[in-house]
Amino acid sequence: MTLSRHISEALWYTVFLIALGAGSMAGPLAAQTQSGEAPQSENSEADAPLIDLGPLLDTLEPETEQTDSASDQPVTIPEYQRAPESGAVTAASAVPDTMLLPLRGEGAGSDRILRLSGERSTTVLTVDVAFPESAEAVVLAYRNSINVLPGRSELLIRVNGTQVPPVTPAAFEGFVNIELPRDLLVEGSNEIEVTAVHAHRIFCGPEATFQIWTEIDLAQSGVRLPRGDVPAGKESFATALAAQMALNGSVPVRIAPDASAETIRQLAVRLSGVTGIAATGVTRESLYDIADPLPPIARITVLDGPAEPARVERGADGAMVLVVVRDPDAGDGLPDLGAELPSPAPLEDIGQIEPGVATSLQDLKFTDTNAYNRYSEQRLPFRLPDDWLMLSSSEAMLRLTYSFAEGLPEGAIMLVKVNETTVRLLPLDVGGGEVLEPLDIGFSANLLKPGPNLLNFVAIVPGDPVDQQCPVTERPLVTILDDSTLRVPPTPHMTFVGLRSALTSMRADQVMVAQTSSEQSLTDEMALALVSALRPLDGRKQDENGRLAVAGVGTFENVPFAGMGLTRRELENVLMEPMPMTQIADETPMFRFIPLRPIAAGARSMFDGFINLAKPGDGALNTWLEGRNGQAVLMMPDPEAPNDLWLVVSADSDPVQVADTVSRARMSPDGPRGRLSILTEEGTWQSWQDAGAPPVLKEPLTFRNFRAVAGNYASWSPLYFSTVLFFFTVLSVVLALIFVVSTRGKRKR
């Protein structure tokens, strides 16, 4: 239409120019521009000499002469089909009718599948239910290995202490739901204890133990509730939040994009109270982000406005929403969330042993007393003081009281291990059937470390015969009585420089993000996950000077790695994806005396041994790092600032998983130590101990502790200790000589 008008105007100007030149000719020419229509010109022959342009302009508006009603086409009135056609279902209705409050349990993998292996294995699962009367169903999704013999296997389930009829495992082709009675649920926390009793179809023995299992899919197991029936409130929010975390491991927080990170941090700290030791992902979303395809069960929305008490509402997507309205002018603080998100209590730590005092295993929180499997491990992690250090030879004592089943086959044994070193092998194939007299098991105390340690009882009971099913028994094969005691010798207060102690004391408010320009979201996410995970350990004091800085691979300029004698490239190599194997040029000289290689190797070995005597540890860091890879590096750049730690994460690391591992490492005997530790892709820690840092005495040197202190130094570096000793000896000799010579009479000089 615009185009046609421009054409009309152009034509009009043409006509106008002609009219200027030809006066009375304007009328006919104008008429020729009307595309066949009969214009009702208001011009008259008499007016023509006046060249009145106004009427001519109106005349040349072509469309004004045309009426739409005059068109041949029929005229309809605008009406629209707004409703979908009958039967059409729109995907927008995908708000689930029900929600599952999933079960929680220790030992599940990232896929939320928990395996119960062996002849008999038990787990306790929990679920919080605010309104048990609303429950539609309580389900347990399980499957079992093909080796399980159904006729002699069963799942024994207790719901809040009440035994339900045993279930014969028969889920060989995939997960199958067991429906549990709803009426056994109670308001609040519910416990579902599952004991899987398995028999192998063919074999019996330690190998067979690993082949018979039942798996529980925690993500598909739990209490199913109709979404609409649960009233919004703080109880239902707590339930929904626990379910959200158990199911997704993260909670969406809708907040203005420019809201301070501190506000989110405060929420993350509060959220840590819901998950225990596990890290929680806090997914920050804009207030106007588009909807998630799968709506969350719970969410937090933070709005800026006049501060008001937090409230719980049901979102349009069915999520239970904690609405927090905060006054942006009142700083980063949140309103009181004590009712909806109470401040988390400290985490229960592993058992702590006091050096010099025989401590019962019960006091060390040992609960796994009975072993039923042909291969079993009964693990007892416990903590020694951070400043306990025993490098010299001294004896610790385990006074073990135990029993084992009568008539176990020949070759049945139990290994007693301390930090994975076997300190005693006990036969289980002689006697049995009664509790034995306490057995003193002494072991070298230098197997123990400051911080978390592990005492492990490994029982191996062969089949008899191997190619037949194991005899049915409900009695444990081995029982460790928890009145057994462990005594660890006291030591002077000494420590090695290392990051473990600082990490154990670290709190959420000491996590910070190194200022970065790129990868900000990753490091922010990482820091948030750490904040949610670093819940304080019960009885552990915070170090006021502690700091855990988080950095990403692409922002190394902030990481003080030079203090560790590292180059940027060396650290990058650890955190980058390993390059595919390529042909590496052999840098060995082309001409060499091959027969000399063993000699050189021997010399090198001797040299290394000598160096190790002088400076024990892991050698140069650069050398130690060669060939190692991981998803994160935890390090202490400056030994003079032992509480200042850095966590550098690779670009493809999972923040929640890393934070979870870091948090758990505080109580793990396999956690990070030394000045630098690599978190491998498998989730284990590889630690580097600085060779140049001697143990540090944290108390005055006295006659009483001199021997132990000297022993530790001597054990740390025999050569160094001998050199010092030699120096003092020489000095003594010289002083003695000076004394003798100076005190002789002149006659004898």
Partner: protein
Amino acid sequence: MNRRTVLSGLMGASLVPAFAASVADAQASFDMLTDPRSSVSAPWAAWKAAFVEDDGRVVDRLQQGASHSESQGYGLLLAALFGDGPTFDRIYQWTETNLAVRSDALLAWRWLPGGNGRVPDRNNASDGDLFYAWALVIRGQRDAMPALLERAQAIAMDLVDKCIAPAPDGSGRLLLLPAAEGFVLEEAVIVNPSYYMPRAMREVARVTGASDLSVCATDGEQLMADLAGMGLMPDWIEVGVNGISTVESMSDRNGYEAVRVALFLIWSGNAPHPAVLRQAQAYRQAREGDAFIPGQFAIVMERFSGRVVETSADVGYGAVAAFTRCASSPEFGAPIPFFQTSGQPYYPATLHLMTLIAQIVSVPECVPI
């Protein structure tokens, strides 16, 4: 009034303050919508991806894949509000090429993708024209594009000329006809209350000088207040010599048409309007009633009882409902569904996006939770 008169009026000194104020309003809305704090860029991107074709055609698949002046007008407005120049240009170009086929400045109301005549008839739809002109005004002012203002001017003048009529009841009110043809009966006219968008009418009137549009907006609000005194807004009504009555063979329920009334009133800064309060009350009843089903939103209600006749799973209707409830209450935060186009047709999705805009611009307290 011809074009020259209008242009001279537009540029005349008397309109300069109004023009400046309108520019400021438009800029303020633009700033709010593009502010990172309330950025609706993700919903806008999703809306565009779902409904705008490369050539600028806004597709309503429920109408046989048709496009109409309403969809083009809505699309052009959204592009203008979000400052999305390229999308604006594409929609504008397509509309000018395909719908600006009438002898006046108004748009043909429908374009069908198949068949011989892609524009089956040349009747217009006044709401489509109104939103289209509003979009031109917004973009024209913000980016100083006189050609767009000129086009808006022409539309506004023709709207006044052909789609505004005096009420037959002798009240002296001006009524907005749904189209230039087909809605004037012997002794009555048919009105669709949801075609009134007071904010758009006033802004277009202020910039173009088509002052009858502004008068009509005020009269329409009064008409709706009268209707609210009787019940919920109906989709269609007839205003005759004896007053207001229902239209035979047209819906007098509060349904797919009337769902826009409260939204447009709130967007126009008139949240306390009786029609909004009445609608909010009906939505509350629907939500608290025994028949409430989570995930289903009331869309058709009996005008007088408020009984829910039809629900929809399209969250856009839920957005309008939640927003309406919130706008008439002191609540901070509203359970407005998050935007989605997955499975949601053009119409509810567009209302959904408009709800978010109206919330940011007019009722910032009702942030979606």
